[in-house]
């Protein structure tokens, strides 16, 4: 149904006689709606939008393992520390980060104490 009435938004299949005669509502203007591609596009867009929101959440609120709010005040994301090797430190929440790449693998067991 690629023809949509611009007034009542009723859609008609290609070749429908009412496209020539006029819509049931009396309007005689129609907009051509290419069915498949347009719907696909909307779907893709939504999908991308969702993905963006998720990655934003990850980057915006969750990459830090440790936040230094002020000297002597720390927030520790234990979950992130448990899951990853690297330590990401946010400095006073002003968008500056320090990433401590794992020195773990270079360390020998005995050096930990």
């Amino acid at each position: 149904m690629p023809h949509r009435c611009t007034k009542c938004e009723k859609t008609y299949a290609d070749g429908d006689i009412r496209i020539l005669k006029g819509c049931d509502c009396g309007n005689n203007r129609f907009i051509y709606v290419p069915k498949e591609p347009k719907e696909r596009k909307i779907f893709d867009f939504e999908e991308v939008k969702d993905k963006k929101e998720i990655s934003f959440k990850e980057i915006g609120f969750g990459i830090e393992s440790i936040k230094i709010i002020a000297p002597g005040q720390y927030e520790i994301n234990i979950e992130k520390l448990l899951e990853r090797d690297e330590i990401v430190i946010a400095l006073q929440e002003n968008g500056r980060y320090i990433i401590h790449l794992p020195s773990l693998l270079k360390k020998k067991k005995g050096e930990k104490v």
Partner: protein, 211 residues
């Protein structure tokens, strides 16, 4: 890097298959002031006559992990040798203001906060090198905290044997049942590390779980 880590884990797993039951390395974990050092001291005092460290009412007294190797525990005429690791308290927020009320100077309190934060990282890094975990919780507190839930989940994911120690049962408002209800999938041993109450049950559970 990930591949190397995987290889290390696999190698450790194979080694553990051959070496298990001779010697196990157990980490004592938990939030600050749950009684980890008191428990480590209790175990060491009972079996070696020594102590691990000096506990304190000021949170984050232990800021470096301490390892004591070769502690022999005897349960039902069976001997198990364990290495005990006492770790700094795990916390999601460390603020030097909390230490000021204990009479620490601002400079001391800030240094303590910094070291405590480093201690949390150190404690977590040690998880890779352990064979079992004693997770100590204060039975007078609500067990359903972010720290407890996160650490239990991660230990489960690592497939490390876990015993939950419901400490401070000598206090009137202690409720080990609350801990049991929060983590029904794990064995919970109620003890008082300070007074030594029910500590034999803990040794038996350690021998069964980690031996």
């Amino acid at each position: 890097m990930g591949l190397m880590l995987n290889l290390r884990k696999k190698l450790r797993f194979i080694l553990r298959l051959f070496l298990r039951k001779d010697k196990v390395r157990i980490g004592i974990y938990g939030p600050p002031n749950a009684g980890k050092t008191t428990l480590a001291n209790r175990i060491l005092r009972d079996w070696t006559g020594d102590i691990m460290g000096i506990p304190s009412e000021i949170p984050h007294e232990t800021r470096r992990a301490r390892l004591r190797e070769g502690v022999k525990i005897q349960v039902d005429k069976k001997t198990l040798t364990i290495d005990i690791l006492d770790t700094p308290g795990l916390a999601t927020k460390i603020d030097f203001h909390d230490f000021l009320k204990y009479g620490l100077s601002e400079e001391e309190a800030k240094r303590r906060a910094k070291e405590a934060t480093e201690g949390v990282i150190e404690a977590i890094k040690w998880l890779d090198d352990l064979d079992g975990i004693l997770l100590v919780m204060d039975a007078t507190e609500d067990p359903y905290t972010q720290v407890n839930v996160t650490i239990v989940g991660n230990i489960e994911a690592r497939k490390l044997p876990l015993l939950i120690v419901a400490n401070k049962i000598d206090l009137p408002n202690a409720s080990p049942a609350r801990i049991r209800a929060a983590f029904p999938q794990h064995q919970v041993v109620p003890v008082s590390a300070l007074k030594g109450i029910n500590i034999d049950s803990l040794y038996r559970a350690i021998a069964e779980k980690f031996g």
